[in-house]
């Protein structure tokens, strides 16, 4: 059992947990993820680690209530315990001094960008962050990003804060304005956003890393649920990733595979609404 030391609600569907998990905090590195399970009979949900504090022995997750389980989990309060938490999973992000890097986060994807941003900054990179949200009231972690970013651009889809529009607009502008001046781009967010970022950087030939959050069961390579096509190769996100060269990812297949339980999920959420406590019939 893992105690929730802090809960922060960012929006009606987005929340943060800081969990007491000293062994995990000690072992994890930027790019790692965990799998959580919130109740007996509950599903295993992979979540990228958004922050960790080795001294305090904590790990931070930012969660979006998109399915029946994550909606139920939103009812957990500080002092409550999470049933299962396993990790750190995946291969840690490769951190080096590239020169100048652009870190792009979209929506919930802003959270997992953070540990990489911090590590890249500490490795001596010039860091430019672009974080995008749908609207002003969904913005989180502006201060944390400002602290580790040499430049910070915030976008909102509806223009209620920062630049109006998608993250790819400032990304493209930076690439155009600074030819040869950006050595690496990292993009984390919804599939469609990561795909758009990769298409934006491709003509400029700038290395672009993405962190994939695919459907998983065990997270240790046993089931293959998370497999993804990179060119001709098939990789498992859980053990070969989650970071990949975004220019190689077959995005259409990836996004399609992310939807493969949508019929079942819709049914489950319906049940959850009918019976909010039980998460089902």
């Amino acid at each position: 059992m893992y105690k929730i030391l802090k809960k922060q609600v960012f929006s009606p569907v987005t929340y943060l947990w800081e969990l007491e998990a000293p062994d995990l905090a000690r072992a994890c590195r930027p790019g790692h993820f965990v799998i959580v399970r919130h109740k007996e009979g509950g599903e295993r949900i992979p979540l990228t680690i958004a922050d960790f504090d080795r001294e305090r022995g904590t790990v931070t997750l930012v969660i979006q209530a998109v399915g029946a389980s994550t909606q139920e989990m939103m009812a957990f309060e500080e002092g409550d315990h999470l049933l299962n938490l396993v990790g750190p999973l995946g291969i840690e992000s490769h951190i080096q001094n590239y020169g100048a890097v652009v870190m792009v986060g979209g929506g919930l994807g802003v959270a997992p960008v953070f540990p990489q941003l911090r590590a890249l900054k500490e490795a001596g990179n010039r860091t430019i962050s672009i974080i995008g949200f749908r609207s002003k009231d969904l913005i989180f972690w502006e201060e944390k990003f400002r602290k580790y970013s040499d430049e910070l651009i915030i976008t909102t889809d509806d223009g209620t804060f920062g630049e109006k529009g998608l993250v790819i607009v400032p990304l493209k502008r930076l690439l155009e304005e600074r030819p040869g001046g950006i050595q690496m781009v990292t993009a984390i967010g919804p599939g469609i956003m990561m795909k758009a970022c990769c298409e934006t950087t491709r003509p400029f030939g700038v290395k672009t890393l993405v962190s994939l959050n695919t459907i998983m069961v065990d997270g240790t390579g046993m089931c293959g649920s998370c497999r993804v096509s990179l060119g001709k190769e098939v990789k498992f996100v859980c053990v070969d990733g989650p970071d990949f060269d975004g220019h190689l990812v077959n995005w259409d297949e990836l996004m399609r595979r992310q939807n493969r339980f949508r019929r079942e999920e819709a049914h489950s959420i319906e049940q959850c609404k009918l019976n909010p406590k039980g998460g089902g019939a």
């Binding site: 299962n84 396993v86 069961v217 595979r257």
Partner: protein, 473 residues
């Protein structure tokens, strides 16, 4: 002994073995309850009476863990069930499990002397009877253990890990088992379906282990949260046993494997067994199976998958295999059960492409095969029949082609030697790896094998550990 009996020999015993009651195929294909129902006391007595108590039994050397088979059968014949169970436990930590899933027909029952003339004694069914009786009547006793200070870490709580843990605990060592999943049991939980091995049975056997003082830490992936050097260093373990299983599912690399509706048997079975996907949405994990299911492969996992598909309501459940029934590596009993339940077998067929519409599986193109010359495994290798391609209408394709080595431990343990397939190299006598004090056994050493062989390796490793630590086993 109750009353004096005629001397038992091959001419006086009942020639046919006692049938085990089973759920009728028509019923059981719609539920997840156990197929085989187990012997009653009367049936057990009848079968135990068929054992002629050979002076030099051949069944015992046929058993990978060397159970005193005539001994426990004699105890059953004398209705001394606690003794029967004790005898089993002395060699086999999980008799209720092995009584169900061991391929006895290739082991003890294959070498049974009665079997040379008549049907062999149903050793597995008797083992299961004695173990189930003991579990149902709370006969499991915790042995007296004199605690010692040495600490042993066991990685993986499948059959190999549990056996090694039990043997080390009996010798007094402090044992901690690290399990990656959220429950203990490994393949017994995620792999073997409820209708062959109920999870409740596995849990009861594990509960006995906990009573012996073994600690099981679930949600702990060694190689991730701790490394083996950490376990052996700062964490103070004097020995480690690696029993992580095999794991990585194989695909064929044909077109269409990225379509929705294609999955590994590991994924399918884990969703159903471990995550109880058959109860979705009451439980949280969907299975994602359609109505017409093709399982590729014909081993035990393929039987489990195709039969699970029927129970989840598949209208068609096919097994597609490039060789014939004769070459199928499945246990005859499982194959037979699958046929009875209505699984359709497409022998001598090989998939060449999975077809999709809008990203979802809509069919599978197969080609007919012919058996050619025997290959290095001794099996006649299948060759495609030109021009014989056809389309099988399916919406779900499950790969049950075996597994590859999971690299997590090897890649995080400097100095740990693997063979060219990534399996760990061990001393066959002691199960010790290239690192002194680090032992390994089960599928991570041998590749996909059986529960009982993993248990045998766990037992051997425990002996090796005791020897390494200078303790008399």
């Amino acid at each position: 002994m109750s009353e004096p009996k005629k001397p038992r020999n091959i001419t006086t015993i009942t020639p046919d073995r006692t049938k085990m009651p089973e759920q009728p195929p028509e019923e059981r294909r719609k539920n997840f309850k156990e197929v085989a129902l187990g012997f009653t006391e009367e049936q057990a007595a009848r079968e135990a009476d068929r054992c002629i108590q050979c002076k030099k039994p051949l069944c015992v050397p046929g058993c990978p863990v060397g159970i005193d088979i005539p001994g426990f059968i004699k105890a059953i014949a004398e209705k001394d069930y606690p003794r029967a169970y004790e005898i089993l436990l002395a060699s086999d930590l999980l008799p209720a499990v092995t009584g169900r899933v061991c391929p006895q027909e290739d082991q003890c029952e294959a070498t049974c002397i009665v079997g040379k003339k008549l049907e062999p004694v149903a050793i597995g069914r008797l083992e299961r009877f004695a173990a189930d009786y003991a579990l149902a009547h709370g006969l499991a006793r915790v042995p007296e253990i004199r605690k010692r200070p040495e600490k042993v870490a066991v990685i993986g709580s499948g059959p190999g890990g549990l056996t090694c843990a039990a043997d080390c605990a009996r010798a007094g060592l402090q044992v901690t088992v690290f399990e990656a999943l959220h429950v203990a049991g490994g393949v017994l939980k995620y792999g073997i379906p409820e209708f062959r091995l109920p999870n409740a049975i596995v849990d009861q056997e594990i509960a006995n282990l906990l009573k012996m003082g073994v600690e099981i830490k679930v949600d702990h992936i060694v190689g991730k949260i701790f490394t083996i050097p950490q376990l052996m260093g700062e964490m103070g373990f004097q020995a480690v046993f690696i029993a992580t299983g095999a794991g990585f599912p194989k695909f064929m690399g044909i077109n269409g494997e990225g379509l929705n509706g294609v999955m590994s048997a590991n994924e399918f079975l884990t969703r159903v067994n471990l995550m109880t996907g058959f109860e979705f949405p009451r439980t949280g994990t969907p299975v994602g199976m359609g109505k017409r299911v093709a399982t590729i492969g014909a081993g035990n996992t393929a039987m489990d998958s195709s039969r699970t598909a029927l129970r989840l309501g598949a209208e068609k459940s096919y097994i597609v295999y490039r060789r014939t029934e004769k070459e199928s590596p499945a246990r005859r009993e499982e194959l037979h059960h699958a046929i009875e339940e209505g699984v359709e077998f497409l022998w001598l067929n090989n998939p060449v492409e999975i077809l999709g519409v809008e990203g979802w599986v809509k069919g599978m193109r197969c080609i007919k095969m012919d058996l050619g010359e025997p290959d290095e495994s001794g099996r006649r290798s299948p060759v495609p029949v030109p021009g014989s391609e056809f389309e099988l209408e399916v919406d779900t394709v499950i790969y049950a082609l075996g597994t590859k080595a999971n690299p997590i431990i090897a890649s995080t343990t400097p100095g740990l030697k693997t063979n060219r397939w990534g399996y760990l190299e061990v001393d066959p006598e002691t199960q010790e790896t290239s690192i002194p004090g680090v032992f390994a056994g089960g599928d991570i050493v041998t590749g996909s094998a059986t529960v009982i062989l993993a248990m045998g390796a766990g037992r051997k490793a425990a002996k090796g550990i005791l020897k390494r630590l200078g303790i008399d086993g």
